[in-house]
């Protein structure tokens, strides 16, 4: 849907006609809710807000979702599915561990600029009921595990230097997840720009790569942070 990716119709249009696919309407609710949740947080978004933006009445929402939390949960599910698909594709197509990690960074950075993707990492898990929390934590753990597996692969095949895969994955995931907090759709940075530099910075590091031997080794030692509280 290339043209739609630029200007998609407002979600409430899905409700303009009586005869409309209920699934479409459900999705419209979801899209609108995700929007609002990201704008104002789940707690500050009232069912009224959602209904208003869709030009429907509040109880109508309860036709499509049992309660507010189900809407939230569906946002998480939708976003997790998006991320899962990325991971599948990467697992299938890419080469070395480092290449997989790089591909992941690139693709994931893009997802973090999409509403449902942002929801997964930006919204507050604490708003979920215990049951739903378990489910969502499951999704997140799975993502983490798969990223970690890429890192481990890389260590094994020598494309990634020795390190603790868990912490490496946390560092990568953190940098990427934080995107969904500072990213602004209307801002100056395009998702691609972000993705590209992040892929580079996280894999190659900040340090200048001088064609160097032992000399630099000493410098690196010195650069170890000492004496900071």
């Amino acid at each position: 849907m290339p043209p739609l990716s630029i200007v998609s119709p407002p979600h409430w249009k899905a409700f303009s006609s009586r005869r409309r696919d209920p699934a479409t309407k459900r999705e419209a609710v979801l899209q609108t809710a995700a929007e609002l949740f990201l704008e104002k947080s789940y707690t500050r978004t009232s069912m009224n807000d959602v209904a208003e933006r869709l030009n429907i009445t509040k109880p109508a929402l309860y036709h499509y979702f049992q309660n507010k939390e189900e809407i939230l949960l569906e946002c998480y599910r939708w976003g997790s599915r998006l991320i899962g698909e990325i991971l599948n594709e990467i697992s299938a197509h890419c080469g070395s561990g480092l290449e997989k990690v790089e591909a992941f960074i690139y693709a994931y950075a893009n997802v973090m600029t999409v509403n449902f993707g942002r929801c997964v990492m930006r919204l507050d898990e604490g708003d979920l009921s215990p049951t739903a929390l378990v489910e969502v934590r499951g999704y997140k753990r799975k993502i983490d595990r798969r990223l970690r597996a890429f890192v481990q692969e890389g260590i094994a095949d020598g494309s990634i230097g020795a390190c603790d895969p868990k912490l490496a994955a946390f560092a990568i995931a953190g940098a990427l997840n934080w995107i969904c907090i500072w990213y602004e759709p209307e801002g100056p940075l395009s998702p691609e720009q972000i993705a590209a530099q992040f892929a580079h910075t996280l894999t190659q590091g900040l340090a200048a790569r001088h064609r160097r031997g032992a000399l630099w080794a000493g410098v690196r030692n010195n650069s170890k942070p000492g004496g900071l509280s």
Copy 2:
């Protein structure tokens, strides 16, 4: 639990006697509130919750703070002060740009495991009033600017490879800020372990540095946090 005896006394002890330093009590409120805000989020933490944990009544809190938001704002201020101090020390003592960034990562990772530090980055800005929001945004912008300045210094002095300093700072800050979301005080990872690997990973990158001697590999291995799940 003898080892816990070095731990500071529970905050509510500050309220056990009527005549006691009000500043101590104020801080006790703040500490307890920060705890709860991190556990359950600001919105889900009621003034009653704070009062209960301190073994006082709700209105007593209003002796020390004008309203709930002031408590929140003070948490932000306290945390921002912590981070500001780190930055000052680094600016004063460190060498090259890369060294500053590394020192920053190390110190900042540690702050992200401390309640007030976590508050700054973990709590939802949206809970602040417009005025307070401006203030807090100011603190955050300042932190970002100073980190970015370190990166620029590094690029200038050749210790950091060419890159967009803004995005580099975002990557670093993201990885670090995310710590305050997954970090658990009782968990298996010590703040130092986290800090050490993050400092390495973010500056040197994941990618293996080829054509390197075994010596370095060993050193890196040693610095790796061991025994992580």
Copy 3:
């Protein structure tokens, strides 16, 4: 109590059915609130009190009014409208300045025995927010100005003796406004009786008109309210 059957039904009847003109319900709320505000003052009247008297729950009130103050403000508006209409009619129909003032006294005294009219002058302006206060002060000033204009007309056309119109208007308004403080609907004085004597006393004064012909005496006699306790 057959004579009471002409009395309007209790306001809570408006809420007996779920589907009923919302405007009717809004007015019922207003009437009930005005009643209570006059009985117990605005501050001492809780939203619960209003709701209880209407046999509904507190939050239901918020369907019809945004907050407590809006209810208060609407009472002021309603009453001001009543008074404004009086003034319009008088401006249109009456003759000399003195006749206008007399007509005003008569009509106004009656309004001061009606709930909404009483609200305007009896309730405490200090309970209004600054914005609302400006609005209400505007209404009051307008009333004052128009009464003062009648007095000035009277001075100009010779029907009223020389005096400071501002103070004269204050005296008249004061006497009339005070009605809403001592008047009791169930009391022995009918609004008409009050209106009649006030119209006489304020225009003709207390002082006996000595050395006058029978003509004048008779007129005075006729205009005197008879049968007062």
Copy 4:
């Protein structure tokens, strides 16, 4: 105390020295409270407000008064005493009923510009407990009865035209009591100006006295407050 009538010392000075007549302090509390009650109403005046303006602590107030209501009640008593004295003086010294009424209007209008006097008529009786209410109502009734008696005297001695004394007293009292609502100490109207015109308007009426000689016109002119906007 002529000099004090212009610039009396702030009431909190009574508390500046440890050794001070407790009665003086009590009165200072009363004066301050009356001030605040008139500025913001009894309900909106907190004990804190009173204490703050006196530069003392809240519980100190409870040394001089049992509770907030006692302060209010004392204001009523003080003011009622002032008014009672006026009435006594008039009863003793004046001549005809009309003269007494006129003297009353003059004196009473002045009292209505004094804090304690204003309290009696401006503050909301509803803030009093049932017992106190009975007491205050008693004071008010007494005032009303005495004014009414003057009117009756006037009717009997022919100085006042036939009318219902009760309603006449209400009209006069209303006009006068209302002063305490619109009067501003810093405003352009002096108490004397107000008193003078009110005395005239209420006794002579608004209506021009036709077929009268220049003598009367002149007198009326003199009594008119000049230079009012």
